[in-house]
Every structure is written in structure tokens, then in C-alpha cells.
């Protein structure tokens, strides 16, 4: 497959549709708390990363996000993501017991690059969470995902998450983004 810009409008529409459907189905699994099934969407070499964001002067916006390999809110591979899911089922995962109620809104989906078996997809998201009586969190941000076609099916191979908060205004980040 050639570069995204070389594709016909029909080919782009097909790719966009596939990517959108993947992201919507993934979001539905998370809303339904089907976390084991969610793990099944990930490639063996997934990198899942959310850097720390800071307020900077306009002339120093290059400092806004921490760099890969350094400090981050999430810097996970399949092993640690599996542990995050596993911990929910072993008891005493208090941040999620009682379980959070979440709703993922995925929007502004844009396929930005196609390279071999991989599609880069950007989207905006809102993750709305409530807990207990009146705990309410809302995280808005953008994601840059790499989806890889393996045996005809798309899997998530990379996820970079950029939140719009610097100080995280919630008591924890116990959700999957």
C-alpha cells in the first residue's frame, strides 16, 4: 500500500471507516468493562504512552510535553497493560472498586498516514467518568494511534495520549485512555 496521499478517495473512505469502527468498538469494550477483550486488540509490541504536560511560555512550547523514555503518566507495554487489567480482577483494586462508570466519546478521527500494514489515526476523545455518589471526572485530549493489520484484522500497536490537563484534576488515572 502506498502513502495516504496517493490513495483514491474511495480507498481513503474505506480506511477511515475501518479505523473509526475499530476505535468505536474498542471504546464500547471499555465502557462495557470488557477489559480482557480489550487486551485482545493489542499487538505484542504495543507502546502506550501519556507524557506529562506543563504550562510554558509561548516561546518555549517545545517544553510542553515530557519526552519519550522519560517521566510520563503512562509508559506501558503489553506486560504492564495486562497487569493493569489483571489487578481489577484480583480484589482490592480500590480505585475501581466500586467500578467507575465511563463513557468514551471518540471524534475528529483522521487517518494521517499509511505505511505498509500500519495506519496512523489521530482522534480527539472525551472520557467521562463518574464514581460513587457524586465523583465526576472528565478528561479531554487527543490520541495518535498506530493500527496494524495482522491476518486481516486491525490491532492497536501504538497509542500516544495527550491530555489537556497539566495538573491532573482527578484523584487518579485508573481508567484506560
Amino acid at each position: 500500500m502506498g502513502g495516504y496521499q496517493d490513495l483514491s478517495i474511495q480507498e481513503r473512505m474505506t480506511l477511515s471507516f475501518e479505523a473509526e469502527q475499530f476505535l468505536y468498538q474498542e471504546a464500547a469494550l471499555l465502557d462495557d468493562r470488557r477489559f480482557d477483550d480489550w487486551l485482545g486488540l493489542l499487538t505484542e509490541d504495543i507502546h502506550y504512552w501519556m507524557p506529562i504536560r506543563r504550562t510554558t511560555q509561548a516561546k518555549e512550547v517545545h517544553l510542553e510535553f515530557t519526552k519519550p523514555g522519560g517521566m510520563a503518566f503512562f509508559d506501558d507495554d503489553l506486560g504492564t497493560l495486562t497487569l493493569r487489567v489483571k489487578r481489577l480482577s484480583v480484589g482490592r483494586a480500590w480505585a475501581e472498586d466500586p467500578p467507575s462508570r465511563t463513557r468514551y466519546l471518540i471524534t475528529n478521527v483522521q487517518v494521517s498516514k499509511v505505511e505498509g500494514d500500519e495506519i496512523t489515526v489521530k482522534c480527539n476523545f472525551q472520557l467521562y467518568r463518574t464514581r460513587l455518589n457524586s465523583e465526576e471526572d472528565s478528561w479531554i485530549g487527543r490520541r495518535e494511534d498506530v493500527l496494524r493489520r495482522i491476518d486481516g484484522e486491525l490491532k492497536l500497536a501504538r497509542r500516544h495520549i495527550f491530555l489537556e490537563q497539566t495538573v491532573i484534576l482527578s484523584q487518579n488515572l485508573s481508567s484506560i485512555f
Binding site: G70, M71, L83
Partner: protein, 451 residues
């Protein structure tokens, strides 16, 4: 003792009786009372030495880092002489914040409201149209940024106090505070990493502080970390504990090596069987003669959590954490992360993995803490529930302070609440004192004998 500014007329509780050291019982209204909170800002944060930043965060002239002393926003900035200044981040003209960024580099601090411009040393360089509008009446030497009363550096760690009567930093830290910082330097000088995990909890800051001494909650609050095999229970929650108490509320609580365990390590090391395997990152250091020398005969056997009073928690994971008050019902948690300068790359990556996966809002351990502390705070708001005092009695009267011939002392015990009791006893003394002079005269010295 002079007339206390705080009187029972103004507060809903009596400071004298709010904490009872005989029973270890604490009035929970200290966590929710608005007047108490305002007095804490003045008497504790406004008076104490507060950690601001590490030298390595602002290495060059013009580098700045913004932080807080209580609710006072401050800027730490290195000036052109190499000196670190700490200024109130508030323009003296209309009070506006003069530095909006969390970190960066600048030549001066230019107020975005009317354009008063301040040099790195805080002095007012210029005010727009000064000649025409002020007609020569503006005394620029009197209208610079207000600076902290004192700024001092202990081995690269920069602290500031807003109170000119505060004793020198090293007197304030005493041997226990210094030991806490020295524990971070067991592998040599450190550099702080770019990126501080910050998040906000709905809890009173003191609950976040007393938890750092708490080895009772670990297996319950953080049980999943053991169950999924991220860390072992033996490593994270050993029953052998050592508590070291210092003046002005400083303390170190948590795991300690018994003499027997220490001998075991020494033996294993001498026999050449390899490194100690149990909680290697911290305990293994304790066989190193240089570390023993640096930390002292009692200090080197602790690998627990120091707290520099009031709110600087030091871990054994190459991290430290500020618990910044945001009103009685909110606290900001800031995790600073550092590495020894000479750490081999593989070890550095392992450490950073720990930084990103243990504490912080997404950390496997810490994500489960916030709701507990917030609900402890909430539990102090009900009309009936706030009347029920809290129980900090664990181990009270059952343990002994052992003093080494070097002068260092420690309490060897199982899991206990000595550190928490010392924190609240000290908190009470800070709150009752009207000045540094009074605090110096009236604070308790760390307990001896039976505790």
C-alpha cells in the same frame, strides 16, 4: 507562653486538647476547620523551611521553576551571579502573577497587566511611562518583587522560608532532616528528571502526610500490587520497622533492618554470594561502608520514608513528594523524580520504570490511595462523625527509643504509629507558638525511653 492568637472563641476546637499524646487520640476537626487551615498557612507553611526545587532543575542563569509555599505562589530563579532567588509570584503593583509558566528560562519577569518588569534578583527594572505618569514619585527600590526571607541550599536541595526569624536551614533540619536528605545521596550526587507528576486530591494535606509513615495500610490499600506480582509483599510491607524522630516534627518511619537482618546481609556480602536480593534498591546499600559512614550507625539501617516537616516526603525509590495544601479539602500531590548522576543506563531505565509505575495518579500503588484520604477528610465533615476522635494509638507505650553512642536514636518495632503521633504532636506545637522564638523555646524534643 504568650497569649495565643488562636483562641477557642474563633476555632471550633481547643488546640490544647485536640491531640492527646497519652492516648494517641486526635480530634478530626483539625482536618476540616477553615480557621485551623488559615492558621496552618501562617504558622506552619509561612514559618517553616519549605522545599522549593533542586539545583539541577535550574542550572543556568535565567532558569526558573514555580512552586508554592502554602498558598503563596513562588518563583525560584537563578540570577546572573549564579545565586538562586525565591520571589513571591505576585506583582507589587496590582498583585498579578508575573510568571505564568511552570518552568523555563527568562531574562526578566514582565508583568502582563501593566508591564512592570523585574530583574532575576527581584528588583524593579522599569515601569512603563514612569517619568510621565509617576512624575518621579515611584521609588523603584521599594517596589521590587517580595523575596523569601531566607533561601538556603543543603547539598543541592533548595529550601526557602518566609519568616526572617527562622533558624538556619541545617538547624531546622537537625540530624533527622539531614539524614532524610542524605538518604537520597547514597549513590552520589543526583540530577532531577524533567517532568513532575501532579494531581489533585480531595483530601486535607495532613492525611496525605501522615500516610507516609503508615505501613499498616500497605497490604490493604495496595494489595493488588502484590497479587499481580509487581512487587513482593515481603519487600513492600515488612513487619520489621524503624522509626527515627527529630526536632520540629521531622521523622523517618517504615522498614528498618534489624541487627540480625543486617548481619545476614553483611555475611552474604562477605561470602561473595552476590548482592542481597531483598528489596535491593534500598536495603542493599546498607552493606556499603561509605553509606554506613554517611548515614550513621542507626540511620543506615533505615530504608523507610523520611518526612521533612511539614510536607516533603522522601522515598527509597529515588523520588520525593510535596503535598501542597489547596484549602482544607484539597491537596496537590507533586512527585519529583531523580537519578544519581553516575547511574548505569540499565539501572536508570529500571528506576524510571519504577517512577512511572509505582506512585503518581496512574501508579499501581498510588492510584488506590486518593479516595481513602478524601473519604477520611469527608468523614470529618458530618456533625456527628466529626465528634468522634480518631485512633492513632498503635504501639503506644510498647516500644523503646534506643540511643546509640553516636547520638543517633531509633525505635525498632513492628508496624506502629509513632511517626504519625510525632507529626500531630509537633503540628500542635507549631500551631500553638506565636513566633519562631516561642516555637524554639516550647517545642518537644524527640521522646526518649519508653514511647
Amino acid at each position: 507562653m504568650s497569649e495565643a492568637i488562636i483562641t477557642s472563641d474563633r476555632l471550633s476546637l481547643d488546640l490544647d486538647t485536640c491531640y492527646d499524646p497519652i492516648t494517641g487520640v486526635l480530634d478530626r476537626r483539625i482536618f476540616t476547620d477553615e480557621a485551623i487551615y488559615q492558621e496552618e498557612l501562617k504558622r506552619i507553611f509561612g514559618r517553616g523551611w519549605n522545599f522549593i526545587c533542586h539545583d539541577s532543575q535550574i542550572p543556568d542563569a535565567g532558569n526558573f521553576f514555580t512552586n508554592y509555599i502554602g498558598e503563596d505562589a513562588v518563583i525560584a530563579v537563578r540570577d546572573r551571579t549564579g545565586k538562586v532567588n525565591v520571589h513571591l509570584n505576585s506583582c507589587p503593583h496590582r498583585g498579578n502573577t508575573v510568571c505564568r509558566a511552570e518552568l523555563g528560562t527568562t531574562k526578566s519577569f514582565f508583568c502582563s497587566y501593566h508591564g512592570w518588569n523585574f530583574d532575576l534578583d527581584g528588583s524593579l527594572i522599569a515601569a512603563p511611562n514612569e517619568e510621565a505618569f509617576y512624575k518621579g514619585d515611584l521609588d523603584k527600590t521599594a517596589w521590587g518583587l517580595e523575596s523569601a526571607a531566607k533561601v538556603e541550599n543543603y547539598k543541592g536541595f533548595i529550601f526557602a522560608t518566609l519568616d526572617p526569624a527562622a533558624p538556619p536551614l541545617t538547624d531546622y533540619l537537625g540530624w533527622v532532616g539531614k539524614l532524610g536528605i542524605d538518604m537520597m545521596l547514597v549513590d552520589g550526587p543526583v540530577r532531577f528528571l524533567d517532568g513532575i507528576h501532579k494531581n489533585r486530591l480531595k483530601c486535607n494535606w495532613k492525611f496525605a502526610v501522615d500516610n507516609l509513615y503508615d505501613w499498616y495500610h500497605v497490604k490493604v490499600s495496595h494489595g493488588t500490587a502484590f497479587k499481580v506480582g509487581l512487587v513482593t509483599e515481603e519487600a513492600m510491607a515488612p513487619n520489621d520497622q524503624m522509626v527515627i524522630l527529630g526536632e520540629y516534627g521531622h521523622g523517618i518511619g517504615g522498614p528498618g533492618l534489624t541487627h540480625e537482618r543486617q548481619a545476614e546481609y553483611d555475611q552474604r556480602l562477605a561470602s561473595g554470594e552476590g548482592d542481597p536480593q531483598w528489596y535491593d534498591l534500598s536495603a542493599s546499600h546498607r552493606t556499603d561502608p561509605r553509606v554506613r559512614e554517611m548515614l550513621g550507625p542507626v540511620g543506615f539501617r533505615s530504608y523507610g520514608h523520611p518526612n521533612i516537616f511539614p510536607n516533603l516526603w522522601i522515598t527509597q525509590t529515588r523520588q520525593m513528594c510535596l503535598r501542597i495544601p489547596r484549602g482544607p479539602f484539597e491537596t496537590e500531590i507533586w512527585w519529583f523524580n531523580y537519578l544519581p548522576e553516575d547511574l548505569p543506563e540499565a539501572n536508570a531505565q529500571q528506576t524510571i520504570f519504577g517512577h512511572n509505575h509505582i506512585f503518581g495518579p496512574a501508579g499501581f500503588l498510588e492510584q488506590d490511595d486518593g479516595e481513602n484520604w478524601s473519604h477520611s477528610t469527608r468523614g470529618a465533615r458530618g456533625t456527628q462523625s466529626k465528634k468522634r476522635p480518631l485512633n492513632f494509638s498503635m504501639g503506644l507505650g510498647h516500644d523503646t527509643v534506643s540511643k546509640d553512642s553516636s547520638g543517633q536514636s531509633g525505635i525498632e518495632a513492628v508496624v506502629n504509629e509513632h511517626g504519625q503521633r510525632w507529626t500531630y504532636q509537633s503540628w500542635k506545637e507549631w500551631m500553638q507558638a506565636d513566633s519562631w522564638q516561642e516555637l524554639m523555646e516550647n517545642h518537644s524534643t524527640p521522646p526518649e525511653g519508653n514511647v
